[in-house]
């Protein structure tokens, strides 16, 4: 018989080990369908690993993929810490991307030193503004932000399509629904020569550090955590709960908006309606894998990106479907949830002669 007992206190080492163990467990579990499909399991994983980290090209591809995930992951971390359930990261990402092309594809001309900050600020502001609505609806009328933010995703993407077939359509695109390219001055410069990796990664890393400092060392972060942990006690103590939630909404939406800027101004160069393969939703997974730690979100984003990039490459080499990546990521999330349980509960085996077993444990 197996029994669960709550741990009197949570073990620090376990809290670090649990997500790593979870990732490992997910790979082991994913090996089962892999084996059923008749693929050589170890070779497949070896190919995945080398596909993600095995060369400069692989590594830069993984980091390129990780860049938007870091930012949407951070956006989810900020919101979820304050228990504001922002499911609208995908929409905010597109809003940021839209703002980046609106500002950066010729409407304003300035040197790169001005243009790059300008597109970043525009993208942040667009994402932030998009999240402001659901936050105010929640505060004024108690509207459930899960519903409002989720539905706004579809509104925004349709709006983007409308813009791409209308005012923002590139006249040179021969009728394709895509925006005019971002001007050279507004492009986020590449980090490695002849590779796709761009300085959006630096934006993500700086953002992670800023969010880390925000939560650890600032009054704002303190108030956000207080509101998330116990809004009622925070209100009693005089913390402005509504103001704090608005702040959380703006920062969270803004970070997701930055992810959109990176994809447009760093990677693609122009906006299309299929800019993001679900980076907004994956950001939620990243945040949960990271146990809502801002620095953890960087690692989790790299992990998720590596799984996807590695699986693509493996799939090309031995013909196993790259859907394996979705499977590994989904299993990781499940394992992390189980891991969270393990850090809170002690698992013990109980025999009929429980008293002796108990004594040995103690």
């Amino acid at each position: 018989m197996i029994r669960f007992e709550p741990r009197p206190e949570r073990n620090r080492l376990l809290r670090v080990a649990a997500p790593i163990g979870a990732a490992a467990a997910a790979l082991v579990l994913a090996a089962i369908p892999l084996a059923f499909a008749g693929a050589p399991v170890l070779r497949a994983y070896a190919l995945m690993f080398s596909g993600a980290f095995g060369s400069v090209f692989a590594l830069t591809e993984t980091l390129t993929r990780a860049t938007p995930l870091i930012l949407t992951g951070l956006a989810a971390v900020v919101a979820f810490r304050a228990k504001l359930w922002n499911i609208g990261l995908e929409g905010q990402l597109y809003a940021g991307a839209l703002a980046a092309v609106a500002v950066g594809s010729g409407a304003i001309m300035a040197p790169a030193g001005v243009m790059v900050p300008l597109v970043l600020i525009a993208g942040f502001a667009a994402g932030a503004l998009l999240m402001l609505g659901p936050a105010l609806l929640k505060l004024k009328f108690g509207a459930d932000e899960v519903v409002t933010t989720l539905l706004l995703n579809f509104v925004v993407i349709l709006f983007v399509q409308m813009m791409l077939e209308g005012p923002l359509q590139d006249p040179m695109s021969m009728g394709w629904p895509q925006s005019a390219p971002v001007v050279d001055e507004a492009v986020l410069p590449p980090l490695v020569e002849r590779m796709r990796l761009h300085s959006g990664l630096l934006v993500g890393l700086v953002a992670a550090a800023v969010v880390h400092v925000l939560f650890r060392h600032t009054v704002w972060g303190y108030e956000m955590r207080a509101v998330g942990e116990n809004a009622s006690a925070a209100r009693y103590a005089g913390i402005p709960v509504s103001g704090t939630l608005v702040r959380v909404a703006l920062i969270s939406g803004g970070l997701a908006g930055l992810a959109g800027v990176g994809e447009v101004a760093g990677l693609k160069g122009y906006l299309t309606a299929d800019l993001s393969p679900g980076f907004g939703y994956a950001g939620i997974v990243v945040a949960m894998l990271a146990a809502l730690s801002p620095l953890g979100a960087v690692l989790a984003a790299v992990f998720v990106a590596a799984v996807f990039v590695g699986a693509d490459s493996m799939s090309r080499a031995i013909g196993v479907s790259s859907y394996l990546a979705d499977l590994v990521v989904a299993l990781s999330l499940l394992c992390v949830l189980v891991g969270g349980f393990v850090t809170r509960y002690r698992i013990r085996r109980v025999t009929r002669h429980h008293a002796t077993a108990g004594r040995e444990r103690a």
């Binding site: 009197p8 060392h217 009054v219 303190y222 116990n230 009693y236 103590a237 005089g238 429980h354």
Partner: protein
């Protein structure tokens, strides 16, 4: 396992026996060689301070924990004691052990009836056994004299009604031993009386009750036997008939308990004044109607009343959380224009909330972060928006020392603290700044004797320092021993404050029930 069959043990026979129970958590010994016997039809009070090991012992009985040493024996069908499968809540339930937790475990969105039968029925047999369940329940309610609106949604029931649902839930599962964890902590005096009546009826029908408590007076009213735990060990056991109040109190805390004595004080200028204040929608229960009140420096004003008569609203007004709809609220001599908790706190109002878990402590944050929560924007604890962690830490260390908050340190999560220590933390948060006005709303609810006397000492200390204290409480003993004057709240109206020496318990009781003072006197 129906009630009262011949196979059950006769009255007086042991139905439960815990033998030599020891439980350790790492280096902490929660229970050490505890023996406990419960006989049929008996109420055994398990008395002890927070952290004495009461809850751990009951969790072992219930199979939530496995004891490191010792055995749990429960009377079987034939009346002989049999070892209970350790670590199995299911086995405990099957053996007829039922528990009513302090924090109820009811699904708020279901009816009482649905809560009771939840988990007792298979998925597929819906209608037929529902009718049977209904019949069984109604019989139980008649038998026990429990009266509850079974079909009302639980979220709309009062606390006392929720508790009755919990008791019915246990009885419905054929509980023969009912464990009640601090059942009176959330009840009004009237509801407590009603609970005791129910328990008396049930025990005369053969139910055995383990009553976990730390309020001595209530234990003396209901228990047949009193077992005292301290530091995980059983330190005393006595029949109620020969119980000595003082002795038991000392057994519980292991030291002499100082009795709170109020020295005559010097009344100063008026600090808080409410003139004809109304607040809240008039149709709401708990709204205030034309309340007038003055609290002066150096005095304690007690507010008596059954909960739900407007105390929460009054407390919210004085805490800065609510604003008056009509009338005047003056604080420290000037009319309040900004009803903002942070401003109130900064102006010198110490606010002790009614529900420390809900409104007082932020469980997921550290002890240190909880100490400074009201002052986090003050220059002492942050600068340019950045926290001054060293200052926060040293304030927390001083608070832990000065108020004897038992915890692992300033960085421990506040959630780990016991109820008494949470309250000490709140006292440290609000009283350490030499406030001019103290709002204490149910400051000792759910606390053990030791922590209670500590809270009382601190309130008297504030008064001696010249602060005014507004004490809202349902504990008449507390009000009468601390207050200079007492006012009674009923139906949103507040009586005139009467000098404590000139008011008796019966008068207060009648006024709490809504009689005018002249009638009551």
């Amino acid at each position: 396992m129906t009630h009262g069959t011949a196979a059950e043990p006769a009255a007086g026979e042991a139905v439960l026996s815990l033998r030599g129970i020891t439980k350790r958590f790492g280096s902490l010994v929660a229970n050490e060689a505890v023996d406990l016997d419960v006989r049929r039809g008996e109420v055994v009070a398990l008395l002890g301070e927070n952290g004495a090991g009461k809850t751990t012992l009951m969790n072992i009985l219930f199979g939530h924990y496995v004891a490191d040493e010792g055995d749990v024996l429960v009377a079987g069908e034939g009346g002989d004691l049999q070892e209970l499968d350790a670590g199995s809540p299911r086995a405990a339930l099957a053996a007829g052990i039922g528990m009513v937790h302090q924090h109820f475990t009811l699904a708020e969105n279901l009816s009482g009836f649905e809560n009771i039968i939840l988990g007792t029925q298979g998925l597929l047999d819906l209608s037929v056994s529902r009718r049977g369940a209904r019949r069984k329940l109604e019989a139980l309610m008649r038998e026990a004299g429990l009266d509850v609106a079974l079909d009302r949604q639980v979220s709309r029931l009062s606390v006392g009604e929720k508790q009755r649902i919990e008791i019915l839930k246990a009885l419905y599962r054929d509980a023969r031993i009912l464990v009640m964890d601090e059942p009176t902590a959330v009840l009004t005096p009237q509801e407590v009386e009603r609970l005791f009546e129910t328990l008396r009826r049930l025990t005369s029908g053969g139910l055995s009750v383990i009553f976990i408590a730390h309020k001595l007076s209530e234990v003396l009213a209901i228990a047949d036997r009193i077992v005292v735990l301290r530091g995980g060990r059983k330190v005393g056991e006595t029949a109620r008939s020969v119980a000595d109040r003082r002795l038991i109190a000392e057994m519980m805390v292991g030291r002499h308990v100082p009795t709170t004595r109020r020295e005559p004080g010097r009344r100063g200028g008026v600090l808080l004044e409410l003139r004809d204040v109304s607040s809240g929608e008039p149709s709401d229960r708990g709204a205030l109607t034309e309340v007038s009140l003055a609290v002066a420096a150096g005095e304690i004003i007690g507010i008596a009343g059954v909960s739900g008569n407007g105390q929460s609203r009054l407390s919210a007004l004085v805490a800065g959380l609510a604003r008056p709809r009509g009338g005047v609220l003056r604080l420290f001599g000037s009319e309040v224009s900004h009803h903002d908790p942070r401003r109130f706190a900064a102006a010198g109002v110490a606010r002790i909330p009614e529900d420390r878990h809900h409104d007082g402590i932020i469980g997921g944050m550290t002890v240190a972060e909880n100490v400074v929560v009201e002052e986090i924007r003050a220059k002492d604890y942050s600068r340019w928006g950045f926290l001054r962690k060293k200052a926060i830490r040293s304030r927390a260390e001083a608070a832990i020392r000065g108020y004897d908050v038992r915890c692992q340190g300033p960085d421990a999560p506040a959630r780990q603290l016991s109820g008494g220590n949470m309250q000490k933390l709140i006292l440290a948060r609000v009283l350490d700044r030499a406030p001019r006005l103290v709002l204490a709303n149910q400051p000792t609810r759910g606390l053990d004797v030791g922590a209670q006397s500590e809270v009382h000492r601190r309130l008297l200390e504030a008064r001696a320092r010249g602060a005014g204290v507004l004490l809202i409480s349902e504990d008449l003993d507390e009000l009468l021993s601390l207050s200079d004057r007492v006012a009674v709240m009923h139906g949103g109206r507040l009586s005139e404050a009467i000098e404590t020496e000139r008011v008796g318990r019966t008068t207060l009781g009648l006024m709490m029930a809504g009689h005018g003072r002249e009638e009551a006197a």
